[in-house]
Point group: none
Chain length 215, copies 4
């Protein structure tokens, strides 16, 4: 009688795979890619080192998939925030805000996923993910331009400035401020405001008063 994987077996396999990915995620959140070892991931997942290799052909592949998954999820969330009927500026601000807010919950992980250099194979994927964010931000701005909200400007470059400001806002407190102060709402407001102001000069309706202008 031929072997036939049961549904339960399939389910268990999928669970294991998730378990390993989650363990890798936690390890990276703690020590970065640099400090991640097969042994440590296996220990966190409660499986053996060999099992890792049953689910992923190599550590590079594991990292790559993790990166893709995490980035996709974040990109999706930010994209959803950027989608809707309101003005482009509001949608952009919402996307920036939600992305930053989420990243600041786990700044070490976010930094690793967004900026930490890794082996070339992984780097390629990481750049692709980054590009996804760039394109999302640029896309919102392009729509806003198309909708007459802004004069045309170099949205690709603006997207770069925005993601850069967000990244640094993630890294910076990680190194410099007391624990717990990193996701201070005021700081998030500031970064969102900075990014919006960065392109405010291109708004068609100059009469709108920037919400950051002091009384």
């Amino acid at each position: 009688m031929p072997y036939r994987p049961t549904e339960a077996t399939e389910r268990r396999k999928a669970e294991r795979r998730s378990l390993i990915l989650k363990a890798a995620r936690e390890q990276i959140a703690t020590d970065g890619f640099r400090g991640t070892r097969v042994r440590l991931v296996a220990a966190r997942a409660g499986v053996s080192e060999g099992t890792i290799y049953r689910y992923f052909p190599s550590m590079t592949a594991l990292f790559t998939e993790l990166l893709r998954m995490s980035a996709m999820r974040e990109l999706e969330v930010a994209t959803r925030a950027a989608t809707g009927p309101g003005p482009g500026a509001d949608r952009l601000a919402a996307a920036v805000r939600i992305h930053l807010t989420r990243a600041l919950k786990r700044p070490r992980l976010a930094h690793a996923l967004l900026a930490e250099p890794v082996a070339p194979d992984v780097e390629a994927v990481r750049l692709a993910c980054r590009k996804g964010f760039h394109e999302m931000f640029a896309g919102v701005m392009d729509q806003a331009i198309a909708g007459g909200e802004y004069y045309p400007f170099d949205t690709a470059m603006a997207a770069a400035c925005i993601t850069g400001a967000i990244d640094e806002a993630i890294i910076w407190p990680f190194a410099a401020v007391p624990d717990g102060a990193a996701d201070n709402p005021q700081r998030i407001d500031f970064v969102v405001g900075f990014c919006m102001a960065g392109i405010a000069a291109f708004r068609r309706n100059a009469g709108v008063i920037s919400p950051f202008r002091r009384a």
Copy 2:
């Protein structure tokens, strides 16, 4: 007749040291800290591995010195641009511009030096360097506030946003645009404008028209 080290010998020694630092620099510019090996640096410098250790006690020490040297130089140049009699906004813009312009000449190296996570010993130095830039930018803004040019705002956070935007502007073209287009003057203008606009909302003299506003 006893040996006496000649001037030429001394010069050669200094040259060797520079040669090694330069080789390390190039290696890092190519593969980042992560991909730098004693063997590769030695090969690039055209010396043996042992020679590296005559000039530097360890790879960490070599990285550290390289980092400190490079960062000091850049910081100095940017600081000089930020110093002078003119309005704070102009000086800030000048500092951002020159830092960005110089970094874009060698984006991979700049990124490694500014942002790449490394071994803890080196990281400490790297954070200090980064802090130097933050403080320089924040300092110019504090002066501008003190001089009545801006309303008070969170200059530390603004500095973070500015360095972040610069960094991304460095990394981004490295990944995404054709060679040679990275230091396109228009792109540099854009980033400078973005950063200045980011804090423009806090200017006291609202009458000044942003130079980035399109006709």
Copy 3:
């Protein structure tokens, strides 16, 4: 079905560990601690270098354990010989004899274990082991003094002289006599006699004729 380490696996592991210790022992017996390299031990044990590090955290740890194990064993054997109801002199002689006899079976190894200077970490353990022998010999003599068999004397120094004589008797034939002649019973008799005579002057009952006196 989840993997469960079988008894056979466990046994194999223990055997491997012993195998490595034995290989190290043989290597030391051949070339001393000084000439022992991870590579050589691994080759002798028929395992890879990496495997050595699975069983011992470092070469120092391997040496240390080997030393402790071997010394403990020898000390135990000698101590047992020195324990019992008879006169102290007889028990001391028995301890000297058995220790010497056993060591002469592998003089190079014995010398390395007993006398060869090594890295400081190992040296500490080696001195402790040596001290164990000193104390054992001194202890037997102290008991004999307490029991009225000897007048009081510097038993610590006597123990040093005894272990020294034994050590040299181990090294000496290793260098000077044909193979196999080292553990000549007559030579062992001589050393035992020499050591006993060394403290015979302190015996209370002077009437006893030394068994080493020739007819």
Copy 4:
């Protein structure tokens, strides 16, 4: 005109050679053979590393010569003490005493020279030196036997026991007693007494009262 070394040049060369040997001696006295590096010897001698190699073809050769020289000197002194008109027992005791006394002035050096295992080439010389001491001690005893002072016995083995006791007396305090107490005259007396007593059983004139016998 052919080059002709002047007398002054020759003298200077000989002085340098001595200087290097002395420096090596001091280095060994401090850290043993194990801790001796070309660099350290050169630094102590106040010459360059290269110069060492002008006077000695290799470190091994330097060690070898040092060993031979030091051992010769000590052997000579001890031999002189063992030579003369008096009874063999007295001469032996004098030789043991002077050798031990001198060694205890620099126990670390003495231990290194007498017992520290070294590279095989050096070891061969070290064993030869050791053999010199054995033969000297054995020679005195052979003479005493020939002179009717002792019954015949295994003088080679006795010599081994004597040198062993001396060595251990050198090593032991080095590890175990407070500084300065090592060359305590009473301890030297004890070792000399121990060694003499070790062969006392073979004396023909049994009427002689051992000087170590207590009142």
